[in-house]
Amino acid sequence: MSGPGTDPRASAAGTSTPTRRNTELALLGFAVVLTITAQCIVDITVTGSLSPEIATFSLWYTALWVVAHLVVRRWAAYADPLLLPCVAVLVGLGLTMIHRLDIAASQVGGESTGEDAPVQLLWATIGLALFVAVLLIVRDHRMLARLAYTLALLGLVLLAIPAALPSSISEVNGAKLWIRVGGFSIQPGEFAKICLIVFFAAYLVEKRDVLALASRRVLRLELPRGRDLGPVLAAWVVSILVLVFERDLGSSLLLFGIFVVMLYVATERASWLVIGLLLFAGGAFLAYQLFGHVRVRVDTWLDPFAYADEGGYQIVQSLFGLGTGGLFGAGLGGGRPDQVPVAKSDFIAAAIGEELGLFGLVAVIVLYLILVERGLRTSLIVRDGFGKLLAAGLSFAVAWQVFVVLGGVTGLLPLTGLTTPFLAYGGSSLVANFGLVALLVRISDAARRPSAPPPAPPPKLVDAPTEVVRP
């Protein structure tokens, strides 16, 4: 093993410092090149020449990640080197697809709603500002544990705002989870998600002994006592309320899934997963019986082609797109991803599958996999329980979202209306996920930073050498 410090001179000269910032810089450079290449390919394929905006875009996008890298280098020097590059590729691919769909929309003409790619780039810039702000404000992730209950309240308020607002402001396509003011629309639920994950982590670190130890053994499962079921029931009720008042299947599923998994991670008791699944099954059955919009989703999932003219149109088009793409895709700019309704946001994965094929879509999934793996690895090596749970929760949130969205696009799961993190068009989702990555970067910095020599423990009175005190 060539650990840091096996060769004293090498470490003194700084050649074996384990910060890995240069690795990150190289990979970020690669990611930016990849993005710019993709943009050029789209322009040349679709219009035959480079668009004049490509230079501005390239400079802007490069500047974005140079700033991110410098901030990490200065304020989180030991952070994981793979988190940022993966995000850079994903955001870049998303921007490229949105740009490509912009061109398609302007070619078809008709009701062109203007260019979305520059708006998304602006959102990415705002996201980066949040990233920097989080890194600067949260110098030690453990300070978040002290704000846990404030953040929980903030999260619940953010979650509840759209439900309380009149439908004219908060409803888009039947789901009431927006705040639309002027030309802007934000989805406060995306930010609520992060606040609640922080709260879950702090709460579960405090309470896990009770939740893990007091149990009865039934059928080889350690069942918790009845009164300890409170928190999980509360999370379930909140999820159901979101489903009822905001008609949003996605957020509801996301919140409950995150809570159950964090409970499992905190207590190491598989019984919580079983209880969670049972509660989920009950909730899903109730929702199917009671709510029309849930029933439509499930029916179109079971047989999309039977409803191809109505509710199933999106999913059918998405499946056709993926089929057209085949293994290697139609090439960037070579397909017709604009045939899928809302391809820019909900169905961006279908657009990528059509133009880059199975290999491209799997590459995207592997990028998410690396992101999540780094998050979970951070969770393993960080030394405090709160950091462990927080990193695990944040990584799982990304993984769960990707699974649910891609499952919906490919017809494996019912459609939920969650966003693909980093890829999809949508400001709140992008900005909030930048915040999420900032937290992961902060925790991984704490996890990988060499521990400072511990300060000498205060001498105990008994051990202290006795001195003769002379007046």
Binding site: S2, G3, T45, G329, G331, L367, A447, S451, P454
Partner: protein, 153 residues
């Protein structure tokens, strides 16, 4: 429009580039897993190498084998390892049975000794409650509350 061959080159070229990025990322993951360069808590001061040569095959890691922090691994150096609930401990425990400054592992000429720092619920080496400093052999379990630690070489 652009020639067909160029479009095909774009089509496969971009996929190749995308996967090259992923392999570059995997190389970093691999370096972390097997290179032993990063990802561990490196508290090895420069003199450790020399000490290792003198002291022969002393234990190199402190590994948490059970409890909430299970899997955590700390690379041993010359410095003492402080274990407890206090934020500045080397290993921060969140355990109701641990005291804020619970125990300390110290290096004396390549041998590690465990010492209880006056904790409420005690530190156990194997089954024995630690009273004074005790020599820890590699693989011998040290129990603090729900956490079990051992030294590995």
């Amino acid at each position: 429009m652009t020639a067909e061959i160029v479009l095909q080159a774009f089509r496969f070229g971009f996929l190749l580039l995308l996967w090259l990025f992923i392999f570059a990322a995997f190389r970093v993951v691999r370096a972390d897993l097997f290179g032993g360069r990063a990802g561990r808590v490196a508290s090895v001061p420069p003199r450790a190498a020399a000490a290792r040569k003198r002291g022969g095959r002393g234990p190199r890691h402190l590994v948490v084998t059970a409890g909430p922090l299970s899997g955590t691994r700390i690379t041993l150096g010359e410095q003492a390892i402080l274990i407890g609930r206090a934020d500045d401990s080397t290993l921060v425990l969140t355990d109701d049975f641990a005291s804020s400054r619970h125990a300390r592992l110290t290096n004396r000429g390549g041998q590690w000794y465990v010492e209880d720092l006056g904790s409420t619920n005690g530190t156990y080496l194997d089954q024995q409650r630690v009273q004074g400093p005790l020599l820890v052999a590699p693989g011998q379990p040290i129990r603090i509350g729900q956490t079990v630690l051992e030294l590995r070489s």
